[in-house]
């Protein structure tokens, strides 16, 4: 099973590279032209040389057989050579590394927060049946399901940033703090990340609550719950170690898919908050047809989802003793 997972991952990465290969090869001529123009002026080389170099780099119009071009393209990517961004005039890889931490920060906090809160509320709703909480869970999940995540972000922006002015409108930290490991910077970072995190969390927590409620309800029918009650265990312990620990397993398997969805939606949410993560730059790259940047960030997103998938699998095998690593 582990082999199957790795095979699918490798497959997926190659599929993504093939997609970007096709994309880059079909790059419109005017974009190559402007890229070459930029290269020529920044490096002080003749335009013709720069033009040929750009074409060679992306394999556009090359006479080599297709598979050779593809091989060269893939080899370039593995060497970390993704070309320069047309818009920002710096290597794509540098933009990737500067954007990645922000997306990782916001997404990791959001996913943990929404999953944990959703799991707790969902378990409670199943544990204390026929209460107000149960109707709340259903209503909340329907409403957030009906609201696209970027609209949640817009609503938060309008209320908390534009009107109440409690949170900043854009950016990842204040310009007057020095980046580094100091309290001022960390506070500024969290302050700026707050609304994006809330947007993801508010949007995703409903689904987790619903999933967890369904899972916990079915676990409640299991013999070992009745057995635990008969053994006179304390309610808290039953709810956490017996109900919660088992009920969390099925929702946990959906974690990887959720992370994929969140990464996919980051272009919209990060754009709303002008938050300089992968999605924000990706949105810009696509809108401005900055092909090198587009392909770099797209590959990064794909690799990110795959890594998240493998991590979720690894964690799952630690949560469920019946599953060996990679199964």
């Amino acid at each position: 099973m582990l082999i199957k997972k790795i095979l699918i991952s490798v497959f997926t990465i190659f599929a993504a590279m093939s997609l970007t290969f096709v994309l880059v090869r079909n790059m419109p001529g005017d974009i190559i032209y402007s890229m070459a123009l930029d290269k020529a002026s920044t490096e002080g080389i003749p335009f013709d040389v720069a033009y040929e170099e750009i074409k060679g780099m992306y394999g556009v119009g090359a006479d080599d057989p297709l598979y050779v071009q593809y091989f060269r393209y893939v080899a370039n990517i593995f060497r970390g050579n993704l070309g320069d961004s047309v818009q920002y005039q710096i290597p794509v890889i540098r933009i990737m590394f500067s954007a990645l931490p922000w997306t990782l920060l916001v997404l990791s906090i959001s996913i943990v927060l929404s999953f944990v809160v959703g799991a707790i509320i969902g378990t409670l709703a199943a544990w204390k049946r026929k209460t107000l909480l149960e109707s709340f869970v259903t209503a909340y999940a329907s409403i957030t399901d009906a609201t696209p995540d970027y609209l949640t972000a817009v609503i938060l922006l309008i209320i908390f940033a534009v009107n109440l002015r409690l949170f900043p409108l854009k950016g990842a930290y204040n310009v007057d703090v020095t980046p580094g490991f100091n309290l001022k910077f960390i506070i500024s970072v969290l302050y700026h990340a707050f609304l994006p995190i809330m947007a993801y969390t508010i949007e995703n927590v409903g689904g987790w609550m619903l999933m967890m409620k369904a899972s916990a309800t079915s676990v409640l029918g299991e013999d070992y719950i009745t057995a635990a009650q008969m053994r006179g265990l304390r309610e808290r312990r039953i709810a956490i170690s017996y109900l919660g620990k088992n009920a969390i397993l099925p929702p946990f398997t959906r974690l990887a898919i959720a992370i994929g969805g969140m990464l996919g939606g980051s272009a919209l949410i990060e754009s709303v908050f002008a938050y300089p993560g992968i999605g924000f730059f990706f949105g810009k790259a696509v809108a401005l047809r900055d092909y090198p940047l587009m392909q770099g960030l797209f590959l990064l997103t794909t690799v990110g989802v795959i890594v998240a998938n493998l991590l979720a699998d690894l964690l799952y095998s630690r949560l469920d003793p019946r599953v060996k690593v990679g199964e």
């Binding site: 049946r129 070992y224 057995a227 008969m230 053994r231 006179g232 265990l233 170690s241």
Partner: protein, 328 residues
């Protein structure tokens, strides 16, 4: 002296088709130190009685009336915390489907520790020592079992673990709900032997609930026969097996297949158990009873003393008894 005294217990389930009365005005006494058995077909309400004793009804089950006196105090009237304290400290149980009564994501040792610590303050070393001793009693290797997850043990081993766990807190009463179902014949025999030893060595009061009449004959001192949510006959194991006075009891005993005897001698009771949503009027057994008369169709019989320590709910108990002896 009764350790457990169930008085006029009524339990209903609310199901889609209506109200299913699973336990209908049941009276039952278990004496200190004895091995009592409740027998009856599946679905007759035996397990519901066990659930009511622990007050752990499924969400659609309701205890409508009755008292469950344990050493004279009504368990059902106690506050939740006191009820929780009685569970396992005083009354422990080996459940039906003990196979699945262990938490799959916790090691056996963690489940043992949970169980002890929620009732007593005890250092871990002592808990391990005690659990180890009990696991040996039920014939298991303590070290291996304690460090295993439930799925790493066989069905028979899990059953033994559950029995050992039931003895952790020295309960006064041990309830066994179909302890042998889902086990193969050899394991069943071993288990019954273990239970018998426990009963004799530790002098624990046992209440076994089962449909397996042959096991009851082996281990029980007294037997209660249950049919369609009601108790129909209670007596010593001898009087139930040699001198049954309820036609249903006779049917149950005759239905035991005998290894030595002719297979055709096995006589299943004709018909099927009645619906508990719309039970028959009068005696609930009358549609299947060869002795049924108009009286049986109109009036439900009460439990009446036949002889000392032997009660029966049948209008024709005397005829049944006489005929039974003539046949033999």
């Amino acid at each position: 002296m009764e350790i457990l005294n169930i008085e006029d217990l009524v339990v209903d389930y609310e199901v889609q088709e209506g109200i299913l009365r699973s336990v209908n005005h049941v009276f039952l006494k278990v004496r200190k130190g004895e091995f009592m058995a409740i027998i009856g077909e599946s679905g007759c309400g035996k397990t519901t009685i066990v659930q009511a004793i622990f007050n752990v009804m499924p969400s659609n089950g309701y205890i409508r009336q009755g008292r469950i006196l344990f050493n004279g105090t009504d368990i059902l009237s106690l506050d939740p915390e006191s009820q929780r304290r009685i569970r396992w400290e005083k009354i422990a149980a080996v459940f039906q489907a003990a196979q699945s009564s262990l938490n799959p994501v916790l090691k056996i040792k963690d489940q043992v520790i949970d169980t002890v610590l929620d009732h007593r303050q005890m250092p871990r070393v002592e808990i391990f020592e005690r659990a180890g001793k009990l696991l040996k009693v039920v014939g298991l290797e303590p070290d291996r079992v304690m460090n295993s997850y439930p799925h790493e043990l066989s069905g028979g081993m899990r059953q033994r673990v559950v029995i050992a766990m039931a003895l952790l807190l020295d309960p006064e009463l041990l309830i066994l709900d179909e302890p042998t179902t889902a086990l193969d014949l050899i394991t069943q025999a071993q288990l019954i032997e273990t239970l018998q030893h426990l009963h004799e060595d530790l002098s624990i009061t046992m209440l076994m609930v089962t449909h397996d009449v042959s096991n009851v004959a082996k281990v029980a001192d007294r037997v209660a026969v249950m049919y369609a949510a009601q108790i129909v006959e209670v007596g010593s194991v001898e009087s139930i097996f040699y001198n049954p006075c309820h036609p249903y009891t006779i049917g149950l005993i005759n239905a035991i297949p005998s290894v030595v005897g002719d297979l055709s001698a096995k006589k299943p009771i004709p018909g099927t158990p009645p619906s508990l949503i719309n039970p028959p009027v009068g005696c609930r057994f009358h549609p299947r009873c060869p002795y049924a008369s108009r009286l049986c169709r109109e009036k439900a019989p009460e439990l009446i003393d036949m002889e000392p320590d032997h009660i029966v709910a049948c209008h024709h108990r005397l005829d049944v008894k006489r005929l039974q002896h003539e046949v033999i």
